[in-house]
Symmetry: C2
Subunit: 146 residues, 2 copies
DNA sequence: CTAATGTCTCTAGCAACTATAGCTTCAAGG
DNA sequence: CCTTGAAGCTATAGTTGCTAGAGACATTAG
């Protein structure tokens, strides 16, 4: 049995994050020692590793919640899991496309900066006037990190 | 003079967002009409457009605050503005690199899913075990949206 | 045995908004 | 002139995924 600190270390997750996952129900309530400290076994370790890995791949906690409940029912079809992964892939692809456009615009901006005074600064100028932009990099809709 | 609604429409920014920007000091306190409604002139319109455009390019509100205060002093060197833009570019590039790795991993995951049951699901399996991954897509450090 | 570290709960804070509630003001139609 | 509906006002709370702090108890190394 591991203490919360050891568990966190083993999974690369900070201690308060583990408690947070328990609080929001992603992890079940942990067993407690005589002194009221949380204790974890192998199953918890695997579950936390799963969560961590999915987070690293950019899945939201909501998606992870779904994936976990799917993985708890191994006899069912994996269509739902597949759909979640595909949605995440689509999300990543759309963010990639947007970031690529942003990168081009920022590069243009930075390259054109001649290093004079603010009055001639290309950076400020471009920011002031979207029509100076080459690409259309408007915020399409919702966006989430990672 | 524009009402807050018209201003928002003209800049593509929602009304509560404008009030929020005022609240955090990104926009100055607006003039008020006899009936206590906010009124905006051309300068506010330009300032808001600047903010919106910079947000679209992924700059944080903090960076925008700096850029705005720079643009208020047109006689100074543009080195600071250049540095902010370069930092943003670096940020975007690092996020691009990470997302590219994620995309590859997710594609592998999705392609390998044969559509059977959860027990054989490649998606769940890969999430359970990072060693099945081709790339090292661990969370490097801080991350911000956009 | 003591001191340092770890853990406990609870609360508040971060970015950058978004949503809700309950009010007032404004513009247009009858 | 009056009403009605949209738009505006303030203030507060919620969102996501944590992170940080306070103050108390548990455990472990020396």
């Amino acid at each position: 049995m591991l203490t919360i600190g050891k568990l966190g270390e083993s999974a690369g997750v900070k201690v308060p994050t583990i408690r947070y996952y328990e609080q929001i129900g992603l992890l079940p309530e942990a067993e407690r020692s005589a002194g009221n400290q949380r204790l974890y076994g192998r199953k918890s370790q695997e579950r936390l590793a799963f969560i961590r890995h999915a987070r690293d791949l950019g899945f939201t906690l909501e998606a992870i919640r779904d994936l976990l409940s799917l993985s708890d029912r191994p006899d069912q079809s994996c269509a739902a899991a597949d759909a979640i992964a595909k949605a995440q892939l689509a999300e990543v692809e759309s963010r990639l496309a947007r970031l690529t456009a942003l990168k081009a615009e920022l590069e243009r901006m930075v390259v054109q900066c001649a290093g004079g005074s603010i009055a001639d600064c290309r950076v400020i100028e471009v920011l002031s006037d979207h029509s100076l932009c080459a690409t259309d990099h408007r915020h399409p809709e919702s966006e989430v990190p990672s």
